[in-house]
């Protein structure tokens, strides 16, 4: 039982980190950024290249090197997100929403097959593999690396929350989410705030990518596809546009999967978890923490 909860929370924290990017972008420009899962993949590959360039890393140093590489990857994926927004989304900001959705799908495929063209379609093995040593915690095997990754994820989320609630950029983000035009009239530089939003969301996905690579040990160019869909689901469940909702939705989805698999067997896992999600959405169409949507005239 405690093992199931721990497994669920661990996977869920990955979902949550990626779901935040979906939810932030949607909250601000009402765009489903389907390329977001592939930013996660890009982050993993940047980590792969960066770690490879360090050469052989002694075991004691691997954690510090990994943290440096993660920061580097966050910066680079952040800029990648900014670039994508500039090239594929900004020119279409006044276009019908469907057009932007399609450019998002286009970006997603370009990233996937671009990486496949450069690195080849073979799965790559991450140069650093976190060890599985751990301790028994309330009957669950919890490895130190899992604890550390969870800690990093939680710190990133707390930091983000503080940023959105406590800084002027965060305030600008929230006001754009409420009403873009009014924010513009109040003197907020909407473009620059959107750019920062993309930077932060993409950086979090990049961090998740490096963490997944180091923990699971295997990366490939399609690794962002399924997890992207799941994170998107998590964002909707939590209430899309709501950052805390995305975190909650991610953890909830992780738990549902862990328990569904245990109770009904692996082949029924997705049936179970997604049935529960349908139920939640029928009862609360805006998601668990989603605010009421008032029609603007």
């Amino acid at each position: 039982m405690s093992q199931l909860i721990w497994n669920g929370l661990f996977v869920g924290s990955f979902y949550a980190l990626i779901a935040i990017g979906y939810t932030m972008v949607y909250g601000i420009i009402k765009l489903l950024n389907f390329a977001h899962g592939d930013i996660y993949m890009l982050g993993a590959f940047i980590g792969f290249v960066a770690l490879g360039s360090f050469g052989s890393i002694p075991g004691s140093m691997s954690l510090i090197v990994l943290l440096i590489v993660m920061l580097l990857s966050m910066v680079l994926t952040g800029f990648a997100g900014v670039l994508i927004e500039r090239v594929a989304y900004r020119p279409l900001r006044s276009a019908p929403r469907l057009a932007v959705l399609i450019t998002a799908v286009g970006v997603s495929f370009s990233l996937e097959y671009g990486v496949s063209a450069i690195f080849g379609p073979n799965p790559r093995v991450f140069p650093v593999r976190l060890s599985n040593d751990g301790a028994n915690l309330l009957g669950a095997h919890v490895s130190y690396s899992q604890l550390m990754l969870m800690l990093i994820a939680i710190l990133l989320m707390i930091g983000l929350n503080a940023f959105v609630q406590g800084t002027s950029t965060g305030r600008a983000m929230r006001s754009i989410a409420l009403d873009t035009k009014a924010s513009l009239l109040m003197g907020i530089n909407v473009d620059s705030v959107i750019t920062r939003t993309f930077f932060i969301g993409s950086a979090l996905a990049g961090a998740a990518g490096v963490m997944a690579g180091a923990y699971y040990g295997n990366i490939n160019f399609l690794m962002g596809f399924i997890i992207g869909l799941k994170a998107f689901t998590a964002a909707v469940i939590g209430g899309i546009g709501n950052i805390r909702g995305a975190m909650l939705g991610g953890l909830l989805l992780g738990l549902l999967e862990a328990f569904g698999s245990e109770w009904f067997g692996g082949q029924w896992r997705d049936v179970f978890s997604f049935s529960v999600l349908i139920l939640i959405l029928t009862l609360r169409p805006t998601g668990i923490l989603g605010g009421r949507v008032t029609e603007r005239v």
């Binding site: 093992q3 199931l4 497994n7 661990f10 996977v11 990955f14 097959y113 496949s116 080849g120 379609p121 073979n122 799965p123 093995v125 593999r129 599985n132 095997h141 490895s143 997944a212 699971y216 040990g217 295997n218 490939n220 399609l222 690794m223 596809f225 399924i226 997890i227 999967e257 862990a258 569904g260 698999s261 245990e262 067997g265 692996g266 082949q267 896992r269 997705d270």
Partner: protein, 389 residues
Amino acid sequence: MNKIGYKVVLATIATAAVLATSGCSGVLSGGGSDPTNDTGPIMLADIVPISGSLAPSGLTMKNGAQMAVDEINAKGGVLNRKLKLDVLDGACDPQQAVSAANKAISNGDVMSVGNYCSGAALPTLPIFNKAHIPMILAAADSQVLPDAKSPNAFLINGTGVQQAESAVKFMKKEGVKSVALVDDNTQFSKDITTGTAKDLEKDGSVKVLLNTSITAGESDYSSIVHSIVSANPDMLYFTAYYQEGGLIINQLRAAGFTGKIMVGDGSVDPALIKIAGVANAEGVFATSPPTPDTLPNAKNWVANYTKKFNIAPGPFSTQAYDAVRLAAQVITNAKTTDGPAVIKALKTIKGFQLFTGTLEFTPEQTLKSGGYVILVVKDGEFTLKDSLK
């Protein structure tokens, strides 16, 4: 996305049937010239995954086939014509494979020699059959392929049923008393687990504690790992592909599972060992058609292949090579590239040597013998454990 479930496959068959008729009539009206009187190259369709997560296997098969084509052309070709490989991307996806098959027909290909994924190969059977194009399926091995009773399709890899038989034989030999069976819900993978479960039930000496599926393409398999560790079987038999296989082996060992692990032929790839970690993969068994390195008669071939492509031959490269050689042989025997005549030549072929032994087809046009062996991972490499003879 690329490993398609059974229902999707069924739905695609319906689509395929529609497309087959349109594809065929397109050729009849558009083609014009009779391919048998051509003096140009004899075109062989090679539908393998070039994109998607199974692209590495597609590359290996393409190379194997190309090697046979080059060798045969160097000896003067077939019927005084050169062979030419028409490589098309099936992406291990029924839809893509269907459009590749239609493209092959409009390109004027006279035979099909590729096919890796059974789910993708299945909807192409009626398309090629309508166009009277014989197919030699090099690697695809699900029982649904012979069950489709397509008169033009010949399998030179063992079938899932045969693989399950080999697995059961080895389980009993190893003294295993209980097993967990895990597939990924794709055609070929599910075939092996259901076949194994059925055989074990009949036999009665080995208990199936768990028979379940995973979703391919994920990284975290902790929930399935938890179920396996709780059931604590003597052996896990995993029948899907190597990426997931490697992750599951790694996560199982991390969770403290000490039982035996066996994988199916979709997992026989050096990448499995790298992903699992060399220490974790040590001692993992595999049911597999003989791989190039485990075939005593393929030493020279492996050296030639490695020299030509600068990479060691992967699994199914020998089957792809054999498929092209067999195609050349039956066209020679039939003295024409005309479909029905070539199919007849395939049915009556005698004494043709494959890497795995003398070719002999069963009435359902699958391989009669030489299908599967047991490999074991030793010092980070797949080596022969038991030839089950």
